[in-house]
Symmetry: C2
Subunit: 324 residues, 2 copies
């Protein structure tokens, strides 16, 4: 008899009347309970990690369904999300995993200094929260016209995106509100890019991200900044396999390959992927790697420029041009 069969025989608290799990502390509506695979998708923490934490730290401690499989109640998922957010900011799991949710949120609040968010950031946040779509669009277009594309990206889009992310993390924004924001900004930026696109000049920059990295907003911001300085952009969207990046760089005779890594992207994978890519590309092709993940990365990688803030882009461009 297998271990799992033994487990199944063990008493499981199922209400014989409703066939549902009995209400245990922290449990809730069965429809809100997620399987380990669903939690992986939801939090970005792999199944292996979830099981490992359970073994090592005794958290999360999911209930079990009638087949002995883990089912995670919403409060544990919320805590996992909070932990994940803090890890993205550099905290280590062992130090924070046994704190409770309020303590975690407090921890998250401190380093995020949203004190000095400018007036138009707050204005935009309010429009998003109140679902005033046309006004939001109008605000973006107004800002774009008064600031110009470059300043719009650096002074409005960057801080606003951070603020939306924070608010979402604190549970102040729903998922769909964050989605809507992303769509609107994308629309505005893509429009501006198409309009500003000039006759193609060097360098030729290929823009994309590695597989599993789905965030396209960072790439779009970079593209906007590059277009401001008349570089030639070859946008591939997100999630291009390593091999394909090499083939694309060759086919388009790219001078630079620019990659974006969000905070959620695992540092290790970023580092190993970049090393492989560096080895596969000709030395004459530069690699620029940016995004929140790169900001945290300690070690530098030979032959890869780590773009820590978007301000650097303009400088990198002039550097490249004076070197060629």
């Amino acid at each position: 008899m297998s271990l799992r069969s033994l487990e199944k025989a063990a008493p499981v608290s199922v209400d014989p009347l409703s066939g549902r799990e009995a209400a245990a502390p922290g449990s809730a509506d069965p429809v809100l309970m997620l399987s380990i695979g669903a939690v992986e998708r939801d939090t970005g923490l792999s199944k292996d990690v979830l099981r490992m934490w359970e073994r090592r730290y005794r958290f999360p401690l999911p209930l079990r369904d009638q087949h002995g499989e883990r089912i995670y109640p919403p409060d544990q998922i919320a805590k996992l999300r909070a932990i994940r957010r803090l890890m993205d900011r550099g905290h280590r799991p062992g130090k924070i995993i046994n704190l409770d949710l309020p303590a975690l949120e407090e921890l998250g609040r401190t380093p995020a200094h949203r004190s000095e968010s400018a007036g138009d950031i707050d204005e935009a946040l309010e429009l998003i929260g109140n679902h005033h779509l046309p006004q939001l669009r109008q605000l973006f277009n107004l800002r774009l016209m008064t600031q110009g594309l470059q300043r719009f990206v650096l002074d409005t889009v960057v801080p606003l995106t951070a603020a939306v992310g924070d608010a979402w993390g604190r549970g102040e924004f729903a998922v769909f509100e964050e989605h809507l924001y992303t769509e609107q900004i994308q629309s505005v930026l893509r429009n501006a890019i198409a309009t500003a696109q000039a006759a193609s000049q060097a360098p030729r920059v290929l823009l994309t991200s590695f597989p599993t990295e789905q965030h396209s907003l960072g790439l779009l911001m970079v593209e906007a900044l590059l277009v401001c300085d008349s570089a030639t952009c070859i946008p591939l969207g997100t999630e291009t396999p390593g091999q394909e990046i090499v083939r694309a760089a060759e086919a388009h005779r790219a001078d630079v390959v620019a990659l974006s890594f969000s905070a959620a992207f695992p540092e290790r994978q970023a580092a190993s992927g970049l090393k492989t890519l560096r080895a596969s590309l000709p030395g004459t092709t530069a690699i620029w790697a940016g995004g929140a993940c790169m900001r945290r990365l300690r070690k530098s990688i030979d032959g890869v420029v780590q773009v820590r803030t978007l301000d650097q882009i303009a400088g990198l461009l002039t550097d490249w041009r004076s070197a060629h």
Copy 2:
């Protein structure tokens, strides 16, 4: 002693001089060998599936590194990708996994009936294959201007997208070429949508897809068609959880919720998701479901309009308006 330790003691073909794996049939440059995690990211096949297939079908059969961990040579990865492509088109792994790469590519070729592709479709395909980005952009803009947005979507974008998908399925296009096409079309469509957007009229249509459905092009095409007829669009992008769709529909007082399902989306999941959504939304809110998956679905779902071709959109809109 553990099984794994035993394995390590087993003979591994390592060249004692270079310390590298000896060249086995199908092996190649060590930097191109990927770990199981990397293959998961690259092909979208989970580690569990990769190990299961190895056990069941004896493919893939990766080499092992000095720690006994799987390392996959490029040719096996290429075959895995081909299998994955065919599975997305409805093939089953057991039937095709033991075919070789040419046979797999042949399989992809057959069902595609590329006989009657029009002249400008071929022209565009050629530009994509030759990586002539500016000319491609120009062609799109020209078509858009001569045809108008509605006809551009129906007569150019729809068949061209199908043709690109087919060509990619046959291995005639690389992944990055398909990515590039998608990006360009997106840019053109988003631009046109932003330009055409009129003062908001009824109905208010919320556009999105269910989780795991990442294809956004279909949604964009629908949005373009709706904008042509002055409907109000609330685009949420892809992958909105069911709960969130309901909340968003409420917050934005949507009259219609439009969902897109690509060919790869499992029919059953689509059907059950739609039923749940139908039950959660007020009866006054219409649901329109479109995409390749809906075309295959036999049964109709109560209270859900199945949009089988994009031509229907205009009619649906007038129907809705005359009914209100």
